[in-house]
């Protein structure tokens, strides 16, 4: 049943045309950044060959590391759009009743919607997978480094989506939900900076920051602690989304 809901979520975005627009946007933005980084790399390598620069660098480090960082930022901007579709938009258009009137548990509904939107995010990430293939035609690439970075982004996307779904589970207006999700992303990102202000004592604050745990992945390192953080955060927000949806009848009474 989870798969049925996931399929519906995914195909609904396709059929409404919203997914195509988002795909075009992601293709344009990520493609533009990719070619800008490739051009910069070629320019620097030419300088290096002419002896005007002594800097030593690799393709993965100079192209994909910054590309992943830009991709992360891009998805932090579009995830609120996707997450508000999950529950707030359905609540507003009264289609949430289809699920509320069905003999499905809140757990099934939330996991189905999460899976559908997560697949959507992965679909939007496709251009990022095509880009290294373009490089591989002519030059070698550190595939391990690339895949580790990709894993970090996928884990981050899952976490941001579950956070977005949590906000979406109680928000009534899509615009308010989108803004709230975005503000929460910003807060979770600046925790890292706040932790640094307090020096060594504030390290635990930085541990809660969203992007803090992505850095290792982008550098090509897999740390179990980072995986646990993203999985735990996703589980935490999904659990509370389920709790909120199972109490929908109580909140409707107060509306």
């Amino acid at each position: 049943m989870i798969w049925t809901i996931a399929q519906h979520e995914f195909s609904k975005l396709f059929k409404s045309g919203r997914l195509w627009k988002l795909l075009a946007l992601s293709q344009f933005v990520l493609g533009f950044i990719f070619f800008w980084l490739v051009e910069d790399f070629i320019f620097k390598s030419q300088q290096s060959m002419m002896g005007s620069s002594t800097e030593v660098f690799g393709i993965t480090e100079k192209i994909f590391h910054p590309l992943f960082a830009w991709t992360t930022l891009f998805f932090l901007l579009i995830t609120p759009l996707l997450a508000t579709q999950s529950l707030t938009q359905e609540r507003k258009s009264h289609t949430l009743e289809n699920y509320l009137l069905s003999p499905l548990s809140a757990k099934t509904i939330i996991l189905g919607k999460f899976l559908g939107l997560f697949l959507t995010q992965l679909f939007l990430l496709l251009p990022l997978v095509i880009m290294p293939c373009l490089i591989l035609i002519r030059d070698p690439l550190d595939i391990g480094h690339f895949l580790t970075g990709l894993l970090g982004i996928i884990l981050l996307l899952g976490t941001t989506l579950s956070l977005g779904m949590f906000v979406s589970s109680f928000a009534k207006e899509p615009l308010i939900a989108g803004l709230t999700i975005f503000v929460m992303f910003i807060v979770l990102c600046i925790l890292e900076g706040m932790g640094q202000i307090f020096g060594h004592n504030g390290e635990w604050v930085a541990e809660f920051a969203l992007l803090y745990h992505c850095k290792n992945f982008l550098s090509g390192l897999i740390n179990t602690k980072d995986i646990v953080y993203y999985v735990a955060m996703s589980g935490f927000f999904l659990y509370f989304s389920m709790r909120r949806l199972s109490k929908e009848a109580d909140y409707r009474k107060r509306a």
Binding site: Y99, L101, P103, R252
Partner: protein
Amino acid sequence: MLLGPNGSGKTTTLNLIAGLIRPHQGEIFIQGINIHQNPLLAKRHLGFLPEHLPLYPELTVKEYLQLISKIRIIPKPNSHEAVDEILEALALKEIQHHLIGILSKGLKQRVGLAQAMLHNPSVLLLDEPTTGLDKNQTERFVEKLLEYKKKAAIILSTHHDSEMGALCDRVIQFTSKHKESKCYDLDHCTT
């Protein structure tokens, strides 16, 4: 039939019965199952046509009903049959491949009724089912409900009794001033 002016509590009552709102006090049983204690089991016996139709405009009529058949957990061998039967019964076969978003109000209402009746519920709740329908559409709508009434209990709300009178055995009249309700049998209602 729940009869009364706007704001008298008809929709709230139906939402309470459907388990969409939790009551302050009292209990609601569907086929002997408490809807708020065991909602997943009780909802198997319930079909609801809400005031705001829960339709996806980007899906075709058939795609939508197929989705509903899945989320209402109709067993797979029967689900295709159930969709075909309801399309036939509500004369939706011709427009089964049309997008819901482009349908007229009357057709959308019929699709809404189809989703409510798809799993053959023993209790059918209809909130203002004839709103936006013309006279002919209303008559056809009532005909379908009269057929369905033979195998299920139908609770419907309306703010005028003229068109749905043929359908009801009992009327509960809601009054907005004191939020009270009175129960009549059909004869009393129609006189």
